[in-house]
């Protein structure tokens, strides 16, 4: 306030650009100074708000309340963070937090949620959808009933159907069963004009499709006679529904047999004799998916073998790629090798190919009768690279070695170059042999930086689904097992095979199994990282 009185008034004060003076004079909130930066911010926040608002309305329209709530939180958070003066730190943290939430926390929580439901084939939507689908599937055209050319008509906004029955034009609405209509103009079998009613043209029909398709005009006062309905607004048929839904009792009743279907705790309408109506809907089933992993005897047979192979595969993959990568890195790190840059670039080449593509190419090359390896390299040999259980396992390790060593090579090359030259030099001065230098100095120093990456590589290979799926598809399969899994299946590809390829898709079960795998991988990684920390103490 006192500043205002000192405001440049006299001639001795240095001339200042007026907007700045005003800004400094009032309070310093950017919300009150319309600088260019503020306008940019306003525009950006407006865009974010608009998108979030759109998301909110969409979420509400599909009744996803959790999503809607998170949208509201997002809108509030964004506006508070960027317009409040007290939220300086939040301005920088918010984008990161938002991405963390969307990509990590939301996905993890959703997977966990799905793991506790029976989401999958036959139970993939809400109860309301299931009821609608069951009713639609069980409304059948009365056998031998006629097809009626139809005119959709309206009167004071109420829709009706006009048809010609037994030579007589008739009209009716949802409330009013068909009754003779006088003075109707009929062309062919179709009513084209009706006094007191508007006959809708195609454009008008297209405008209220839902209402027309949902309209049922009773044929007579007797409900058993069925009702007239249409799907294309030009032909009507007499339908009768086999099932009726009683909203108050929440039951489905078969009108012909009298059987009552009541909702069970697994998201289906079920009769007393155990028969269920399809589709069902998604419900929470508790720990059922988790316990099933241990109690389903069909899974028990090949499980131990798959479990052991998963560990063997992940360990061998890390070991082979690391040994080869390290060896090449050491060799090409030696200044006496000529053309190191070119050779190094060539070595990284396999790394530049998409892994799944390479796996497919290798699959072709390893084909028993027409593959490149047998036909050309082995001159027409008949080696079942992918059909013999042990050779298939060997092939997988070999192909993964080809795919994975460039990464280890890169990592080791980088780590080698970070080892200070004077340490190596002093070792040599002390008379250590080249082998001794490698073993006692280079390797321990290298492991400090590389060991965490080896743990990560183990975790990656533990779930290396793409390679297995593309190269062998898990095959060759075990003979006669009650679930179709093979000698080269690892846990994650076994989950895929059981939950998706065995006919019915079971998202809930797959989520539960992947959470179990995550726990295993997480525990191993945790243990591994703790071990690697000890290396740093050297």
């Amino acid at each position: 306030m006192s500043q205002q009185t000192i405001a440049p008034d006299g001639e001795q004060a240095p001339p200042q650009p007026p907007p700045r003076a005003r800004g400094r004079a009032g309070d310093s909130s950017p919300a009150r100074s319309f600088s260019r930066g503020f306008l940019v911010k306003l525009a950006l926040v407006a865009i974010v708000n608009a998108l979030a608002l759109y998301g909110l309305l969409t979420a509400i329209s599909v009744q996803q309340w959790a999503l809607a709530a998170s949208m509201v939180v997002a809108i509030v958070a964004v506006n508070w963070a960027y317009f409040s003066r007290r939220a300086l730190a939040a301005k920088y943290l918010l984008p990161g937090l938002a991405f963390l939430f969307v990509y990590v926390i939301f996905t993890a929580c959703y997977t966990a949620y799905v793991a506790f439901t029976n989401y999958g084939d036959g139970h993939n939507s809400t109860k309301q959808d299931a009821i609608e689908a069951i009713l639609a599937q069980n409304e059948q055209r009365v056998e031998g009933s006629q097809a009626y050319p139809l005119a959709v008509v309206s009167q004071d906004g109420e829709l009706g159907f006009a048809v010609v029955r037994d030579g007589q034009a008739e009209v009716g609405t949802a409330e009013q069963p068909l009754e003779p209509a006088d003075g109707a103009t009929v062309e062919g079998d179709r009513v084209t004009a009706l006094p007191g009613w508007d006959v809708l043209d195609f454009a008008a029909v297209a405008g209220q499709q839902d209402a027309i398709v949902a309209l049922r005009v009773p044929v007579s006062d007797e409900a058993a006679d069925g009702s007239l309905r249409t799907q294309d607004a030009s032909t009507a048929y007499v339908y009768e529904s086999v099932l009726e839904y009683d909203a108050a009792a929440d039951t489905m009743t078969d009108t012909s047999t009298g059987v009552v279907y009541t909702p069970d705790d697994h998201g289906s309408f079920r009769a007393d004799d155990g028969t269920a109506l399809t589709p069902g809907w998604k419900v929470t089933v508790g720990f059922e998916n988790f316990t099933r992993a241990f109690t389903d005897e069909r899974l028990r047979g090949p499980f131990v073998e798959v479990f052991l192979w998963t560990f063997a595969f992940a360990l061998l993959s890390v070991l082979t790629t690391f040994v080869l990568g390290l060896f090449l890195a050491v060799v090409f790190n030696d200044p006496r090798v000529r053309g190191r840059k070119v050779l190094r670039s060539l070595l990284i080449l396999p790394y530049a190919f998409p892994a799944f593509l390479s796996a497919l190419v290798w699959k072709g090359m390893l084909n028993e009768s027409s593959g490149f390896v047998n036909e050309v390299l082995l001159r027409g040999a008949d080696v079942g690279w992918l059909t013999d259980p042990w050779l298939a396992k060997g092939s997988i390790i070999a192909v993964n070695l080809w795919l994975g060593f460039p990464y280890m090579f890169l990592v080791c090359t980088g780590a080698l170059q970070s080892i200070p030259g004077d340490v190596l030099e002093s070792a040599r001065m002390d008379g250590a042999s080249a082998w001794r230098v490698q073993r006692s100095i280079v390797l321990p120093l290298l492991m400090v930086s590389v060991a965490p990456l080896l743990v990560a590589s183990f975790a990656f290979n533990f779930n290396n689904f793409a390679l297995i799926y593309m190269l062998t598809g898990g095959g060759p399969n075990f003979v006669g097992t009650p679930v179709v899994v093979g000698h080269t299946d690892i846990l994650i590809s076994m989950v895929y095979s059981v939950a998706f390829e065995s006919g019915l898709k079971q998202y809930g079960f797959a989520s539960a199994l992947s959470i179990l795998i995550f726990i295993v991988v997480g525990a191993i990684s945790w243990w591994g990282f703790r071990r690697t920390r000890r290396l740093e103490e050297l």
């Binding site: 009744q63 639609a136 607004a233 048929y237 009650p482 019915l504």
Partner: protein, 420 residues
């Protein structure tokens, strides 16, 4: 209620735009007001809606001109979306409940069971047109007494002969056919693709000739959930498989690509395959004939018949337009003929099929005349893996006792059906 909110949002948005316009200047609003009625009048009959349709890459080229024609005729704009054939079916099942799915999806009849089981397709009413289709085509899309798809093309596998190597086929049994093939002196006698996961589809004509269908059919031709491939007939087929493997007719290393390449190189006079490969053979200038597959087990060899068609989403917001396209447009003789000319598959409509004079397609038609539609019941999904795996294990020799392996497979299949 649910649909009213986007509508509300749209109205709000519109209102805001209008307010923005009016504040912008009075001249603009005047112009709007004068042009509005005229545009409404002129566009009303021409453009009356938009349909979204999903097609996979194998069928999209066939559909493009048809969709354009529909658009020209009715003024309904069709938004053709290409989906990958590996994902289209799964995406449809998962997206329809969220309201993100299409109005119409083009696909194969054996998707019906899964779609109905998930409540994502709406039943359609073919009405009197139903009688004009070949019965197996409509039956293929029928599930629990309701029709869910409008068929447009039929395809099945048959025996294809290279006329340059063998000009005439006298064989009446599969064994005689192998003998004929061997007499031709080529590398293979008969090509029957397998691959390392097995191929029960291409093997099915031989299996049915032993009277061992995958599921039994009731008197109306609908599939029951009762397995039909067990018992003595199944045992006999399992032994026959082992015999064919001994004779080197079947080989797990020969998948579809390998079989096709070998036939094109003239390494075999016979191949059992479908129209998807014969177009390539004809284009390569080969002289081929298409014949029914000879019986191996004494009964008729019945291949699976696959039917292509259109489904309507259970949550379509344009049910009338979708029905107009699927039921009233796609079933006309003109459109079915055009689809045949573009796609090279036998039309499902009898009148259009009668006009087909291509001898290759006629051969497929004859071979498929006795065939049964592939089962569309959801239980079928669990069968393929057991089936192909066991067959390839018998052929490859991993299963030492073919009959025991076959019976274990039947037990496992039964178990899968019971737990489904």
């Amino acid at each position: 209620m649910r649909r009213s909110i986007p509508a509300l949002a749209a109205v709000l948005g519109l209102a805001m735009t209008l307010t923005a316009c009016s504040s912008g200047g009075s001249g603009d609003t005047d112009a709007d007001a004068t042009t509005e009625p005229t545009t409404a009048e002129s566009t009303a009959p021409a453009l009356t809606g938009t349909l979204t349709m999903w097609v996979d890459e194998t069928r999209i080229d066939v559909m493009k001109p048809i969709v354009q024609e529909f658009q020209d005729e009715t003024g309904v704009k069709v938004d053709l979306v290409q989906k990958a054939s590996g994902d289209i079916r799964t995406d449809f099942v998962s997206q329809v409940p969220t309201g993100q799915g299409p109005d119409v999806i083009i696909g194969a009849h054996d998707w019906t069971g899964e779609f109905v089981n998930n409540g994502v397709v709406a039943p359609i009413q073919l009405g009197d047109v139903a009688d004009q289709f070949s019965p197996s085509a409509v039956q293929a899309f029928t599930y629990d007494g309701q029709v869910y798809g409008s068929p447009y093309a039929i395809e099945n596998i048959a025996l294809v002969r290279n006329n340059e190597l063998v000009p005439e086929t006298k064989a009446t049994t599969f064994d005689e056919l192998i003998a004929e093939g061997k007499a031709a002196g080529t590398k293979y006698s008969v090509l029957l693709q397998q691959g390392d996961q097995g191929d029960a589809y291409h093997m099915y004509p031989l299996q049915t000739s032993f009277d061992a269908p995958i599921f039994t059919q009731d008197e109306t031709g609908s599939y029951t959930t009762e397995l039909g491939l067990g018992g003595e007939n199944g045992d006999a087929f399992a032994e026959y498989l082992a015999k064919l493997a001994d004779e080197k007719v079947l080989d797990p290393a020969i998948g579809g690509d390998q079989a096709k390449a070998a036939f094109e190189k003239g390494e075999s006079p016979y191949i059992i395959t479908g129209p998807w490969y014969t177009t390539a053979f004809s284009e390569a200038g080969m002289d081929i004939s298409v014949l029914p597959v000879p019986s191996a087990g004494g009964s008729e060899a019945k291949p699976f018949v696959g039917v292509q068609g259109a489904f309507i989403s259970a949550k379509s917001e344009n049910p009338v337009l979708a029905n107009e396209f699927v039921v009233n447009f796609l079933t006309t003789e003109k459109v079915q003929t055009e689809l045949y000319e573009a796609g090279g598959r036998l039309p499902a409509l009898k009148a259009a099929a009668a006009k087909v004079d291509d001898p290759i397609l006629a051969g497929f038609n004859e071979a498929g005349a006795t065939g049964a539609p592939m089962p569309s019941i959801p239980e079928m999904g669990a069968m393929w893996q057991f089936w192909g795996t066991t067959e390839v294990q018998i052929i490859g020799g991993q299963a030492k006792d073919p009959v025991a392996a076959w019976n274990t497979m039947v037990d496992n299949m039964q178990d899968a059906v019971d737990k489904a």
